[in-house]
């Protein structure tokens, strides 16, 4: 079985200037465990998981002024839609994460620089997707 068979299509995103409260509200409202932080051009700049918010609450004296850019993880572990689920399980276990962003490489051609590639997020595969899949047998 491949990632694309059980991933959640679409990614919930926030901007860097969202406050920590707004990020929490997005996560709670959509019932998800993490969001993508999107920069200009729609590329994946970072991710915020529940764990990142917990870290901020634990470490910072005052969380009221924090925004998404302060608490995000600047790099995300990404997988391709064609990856096998077995590899995904191993990656999740080894990296101690609960979700991986599913990205495709997309060619962008800015006016003068020439062709570049960016990772465009198309979905998420979370531990809960794997648990649900298992419960269906």
């Amino acid at each position: 079985m491949k990632v694309k068979d059980i991933m959640t299509k679409g990614v919930v995103t926030v901007n860097k200037d969202f406050s920590i409260y707004e990020v929490a509200e997005v996560i709670a409202r959509y019932g998800i465990s993490g969001v993508a932080v999107i920069g200009e051009e729609g590329s994946l700049d970072g991710t915020i998981s529940e764990r990142d918010i917990i870290r901020a609450i634990a470490e910072k004296e005052d969380i009221s002024k924090l925004c998404a850019g302060d608490i995000m993880m600047p790099c995300a572990i990404t997988v391709s839609p064609e990856m096998d689920i077995k590899e995904v399980l191993e990656l999740m276990w080894k990296e101690n994460v609960h979700r991986l962003f599913v990205c495709v490489d997309e060619k962008i051609t800015p006016a003068r620089v020439g062709a570049r590639y960016r990772q465009r997020p198309v979905g998420i595969i979370a531990a809960s997707d794997l648990v649900r899949q298992l419960s269906r047998g």
Partner: protein
């Protein structure tokens, strides 16, 4: 420290803790977790005594190691309990979660980190509970209003005085 970080665990823990029997299969445990949309359960033995916990992470590990969906709950659970006192603050809970890289704590009087438990916990507090409360934190009435019965009485007071 913000008022939110000073809130007590007791105020936002989930009181009904979902449990499974140690003889249940991996598939049944997955069904329970998907049905209740939760990320972890406690495992009880025949005498209803807690013997372990199973989280999504235990399931990922079991599947990585090639476990069959008929594997028993007992074989995949972890036997370490992380506990916290109901009167501890959210910040204390967040610290324990961060340091041990875990997502939920069992709420027990006197609990403070890894420990043994011998009865059903008073409640459970997970990262989800904390984040849901953080989302509401901005909209929460101040502490003096909460003590008199929370949002409703605050609203009633507001309506009465305007």
């Amino acid at each position: 420290m913000t008022e939110f970080q000073n809130m007590k665990v007791r105020e936002l823990m989930t009181r009904n803790v979902v449990s499974v029997q140690e003889e249940m299969s991996l598939k049944e445990v997955a069904e329970v977790m998907s049905y209740y949309r939760i990320s972890g359960v406690i495992v009880l033995d025949k005498n209803k005594k807690p013997v372990g916990v199973i989280s999504e992470r235990n399931i990922v590990k079991a599947l990585t190691e090639g476990a069959n969906s008929s594997a028993k709950a007992r074989e995949i659970m972890s036997t370490t309990f992380f506990t916290i006192d109901p009167n501890a603050t959210i910040r204390d809970a967040a610290k324990i979660m961060k340091e041990n890289r875990i997502r939920r704590l069992l709420v027990f009087p006197g609990g403070q980190g890894a420990g043994r438990i011998d009865r059903i916990p008073e409640g459970i507090i997970s990262v989800k509970d904390i984040i849901r409360e953080l989302a509401l934190a901005r909209a929460r009435p101040p502490a003096f209003a909460r003590k008199n019965g929370g949002h409703t009485s605050f609203l009633a007071e507001f309506l009465r005085t305007t």
